[in-house]
């Protein structure tokens, strides 16, 4: 499944595009195989989370000042250790949302964050959440994490794994404070939490 997803996003072609599929598979093998020691391969769980991250871009509306220009890219940032490997790049490659191309950025520290629209905060940063989240206050950044207690601490969306399924726990007030509009469709299947709860 992962292979197929990546192929489609990379090539932006249909499932019937057989030569494309083969070429993509080869490319993936080469990249994955060569870069194995440097970048860890994403688990199935993170592959899904990568897709979800990308999907958030379609259910969330940013204030207009978040995109000064039409061509301003939509930045998905990963803070801390990257659990996605190359998969997130592959997922968003060639994609765009409302004409904004998608760009992946990696940050080691919150101070490095300049322009960012969706920020995935890795589990490696769990201990520093109480510093990271307030530092982002006032900025229209959708904060996502799978860290424990993320929503209570002012995070917006948390991935919760239940019976092998990934569910969303959303704090709409936090999003509202950041001038972000989360589609009611996204809220519908999600678990809604108020700050201070998790």
């Amino acid at each position: 499944m992962a292979l197929l997803v990546s192929t489609r996003h990379w090539r932006n072609g249909g499932p019937s595009d057989l030569p494309g599929v083969l070429f993509a598979a080869l490319a993936l093998l080469l990249v994955g195989g060569l870069n194995l020691p440097a970048q860890p391969v994403a688990t199935k769980e993170y592959k899904i989370k990568a897709v979800f991250l990308f999907n958030f871009s379609q259910f969330v509306t940013w204030p207009t000042n978040a995109f000064p220009e039409t061509q301003t890219p939509l930045v998905i940032g990963v803070l801390g250790e990257d659990p996605f490997g190359t998969y997130l790049d592959e997922t968003v490659r060639g994609e765009e949302v409302d004409k904004h191309p998608l760009v992946i950025q990696h940050y080691r520290r919150a101070e490095e964050i300049k322009t960012c629209h969706i920020l995935f905060i890795s589990q490696s940063e769990t201990s520093r959440l109480d510093q990271i989240l307030p530092s982002l206050k006032g900025r229209s950044i959708l904060t996502v994490s799978d860290a424990e207690g993320f929503a209570q601490q002012g995070g917006m969306i948390r991935f919760v794994t239940e019976k092998g399924r990934i569910r969303l726990r959303i704090n709409p007030e936090a999003a509202k404070a950041a001038s972000l509009t989360i589609s009611s469709k996204l809220l519908r299947p999600a678990e809604i939490v108020a700050p201070g709860k998790d």
């Binding site: 499932p15 999907n55 379609q58 990934i166 519908r188």
Partner: protein, 522 residues
């Protein structure tokens, strides 16, 4: 009953109802088809709308792989009774969620199909994309039970149509029953009048007029015709009455006339009979004195023959000759008078044989003369042989007599074919002939055209011929040129009319009296 023979009322009713029903059916049929198409389109649109709502709602479920949420969204479809199956397929076309939840997987397409709806059997089924913004997140498959829906729709539509048609027909029937009378009533009235005229021969009735339409015109024309008929009928009756009276008068006059004719005929017959009896007795009675004269002349010649001087002797001879001539005259007269009284016995007669026999009989008269006989084919006729023989003797001896001055006598006897139902026999000679202005006198009694010292004769022969031929129902006539011969004709009918038989009877009936007269007279 066939419509052809049905009363005009029913015809009109049937025509109106048929027209109405046809129009209604056509209208409803068209409407039904139009409504059906519209319904189909509306249903498809509705389905598409439902699909769009479901697809719109299920984007997040697909985007975040929330199957239970997707199932919940799909379960909202149970509000749509005719959606029998639905399914969501993810981006890769794999089955993600289905409705109803207990539907076996093989009842659905294994993978997402091309977008768009198509009819499969009685179902309308198809896929539509699940989009979030411009991003395609998956595919929604919907199956719609069009068959059941259509059937239900059709059942309701047809029930309504039938109800409407029934009501309209009922109203049309009631209306046309009332309105058709405006057409049928005048025609019926007219027909009724015509029947009354025909049945009762009553020309005084008049048809009632209802309006100025064609039937009104017809009624007028019919009434005028009746008027004319009535006038003519009255005229005819008057004329007939006049004719009847005239006829009665004529009948009366006729009866009168007939009576008178009968009376006159009877009188005439009596007179004629008396005349005949008289002439017979006179002729008969004349013989006795003549015989005395003859006898005493003979005695005188015997006793005083020598004593008489030659002059006296010549006187005596003249007396004897005259007496002899008178005897012949009396004989002829007797035979002529007998001719009218003798019974006639008609039988087939071979005319040719009879002619030859007659010529042989007349040999003595022809002795020593140069005579050429030309006898043509002669038919068999129906006549009294003895009487016909008399006719031939008279005519042939006449021909011989009047041609004896010729050095060579030519006598021709023939009977040219005649289509007029009678045989015409002619006897032609090359004798002295006669002047045609006397032609009508030839056949009269004692009528002679030549002096007795030139050609001897009594003037009774041709009269006798005419009488005999007349009794046979034929005619006699003659043609001649002075000094260039004469032709005598007589005709005999091919089938003798019974009138002459009656005459024969009549004559026969009278005969005894004649005989009595004859017996009494000597």
């Amino acid at each position: 009953m066939r419509l052809k023979d049905a009363p005009i009322q029913r015809k009109l009713l049937v025509i109106i109802l048929l027209t109405t029903i046809t129009a209604l059916l056509m209208m409803h049929g068209t409407l039904l088809i139009y409504e059906f198409l519209r319904f189909q389109r509306a249903t498809t649109r509705q389905l598409s709308t439902v699909g769009k709502i479901i697809a719109g709602n299920s984007t997040a479920a697909l985007a975040f792989a929330n199957q239970s949420d997707a199932t919940e969204i799909l379960s909202a479809l149970n509000a749509e009774r005719y959606v029998t199956a639905a399914a969501l397929y993810d981006k890769e076309g794999k089955l993600f969620s289905k409705y109803p939840a207990n539907l076996p997987d093989d009842a659905l397409p294994a993978a997402a199909q091309k977008d768009g709806f198509q009819s499969e059997h009685s179902y309308l089924a198809g896929c539509q994309p699940v989009m979030q913004g411009e991003k395609r997140l998956g595919t929604l498959y919907l199956r719609f039970d069009m068959g059941t829906l259509n059937r239900e729709w059709l059942r309701i539509s047809i029930s309504i149509a039938l109800a409407v048609i029934a009501v309209v027909i009922l109203v049309a029937y009631l209306l046309s029953r009332k309105l058709q009378q405006r057409i049928s009533e005048p025609i019926r009235a007219l027909a009724g009048t015509a029947k009354a005229v025909y049945d009762r021969q009553d020309y005084s009735v008049r048809a009632k007029k209802f309006g100025e339409d064609e039937v009104g015109l017809l009624t007028d024309a019919f009434n005028q015709m009746l008027q004319k008929l009535e006038e003519k009928n009255t005229e005819l009756q008057v004329t007939f009455e006049q004719l009847r009276v005239a006829h009665q008068e004529i009948l009366g006059l006729n009866r009168d006339l007939e009576g008178r004719v009968e009376q006159r005929t009877a009188e005439l017959k009596t007179v004629n009979k008396e005349l005949e009896a008289f002439s017979y007795s006179v002729s008969h009675d004349l013989r006795a004195p003549l015989r005395h004269i003859d006898g005493f002349l003979e005695l005188l010649q015997k006793k005083a023959g020598t004593a008489l001087d030659p002059k006296c002797q010549r006187y005596v001879n003249l007396i004897a000759e005259s007496a002899k001539e008178m005897g012949t005259l009396i004989d002829n007269l007797l035979s002529f008078s007998r001719m009218g009284r003798a019974a006639m016995c008609a039988a087939p007669v071979n005319l040719e044989q009879l002619v030859r026999d007659t010529i042989k009989e007349l040999e003595l008269e022809a002795a020593g003369r140069d005579i050429v006989w030309k006898i043509g084919a002669l038919p068999e006729v129906r006549a009294d042989q003895a009487l016909l023989r008399q006719v031939l003797i008279n005519l042939i001896s006449n021909a011989l007599k009047y041609s004896r001055t010729r050095p060579r006598t030519e006598i021709e006897i023939g009977c040219p074919p005649d289509p007029n139902g009678e045989h015409v026999v002619f006897i032609r000679d090359n004798g002295v002939g006669f002047d045609m202005k006397y032609a009508d006198k030839l056949f009269g009694v004692f009528q002679r055209l030549h002096e007795a010292d030139e050609f001897e004769g009594t003037g009774i022969g041709l009269a006798n011929v005419q009488r005999i031929i007349g009794r046979h129902g034929g005619r006699t006539w003659a043609e001649g040129v002075v000094d260039a011969g004469a032709t005598f004709y007589f005709s005999l009918p091919k089938s003798p009319s019974p009138q002459h038989e009656t005459q024969t009877h009549f004559t026969r009936g009278r005969q005894p009296e004649g005989h009595r007269a004859l017996a009494r007279s000597p």
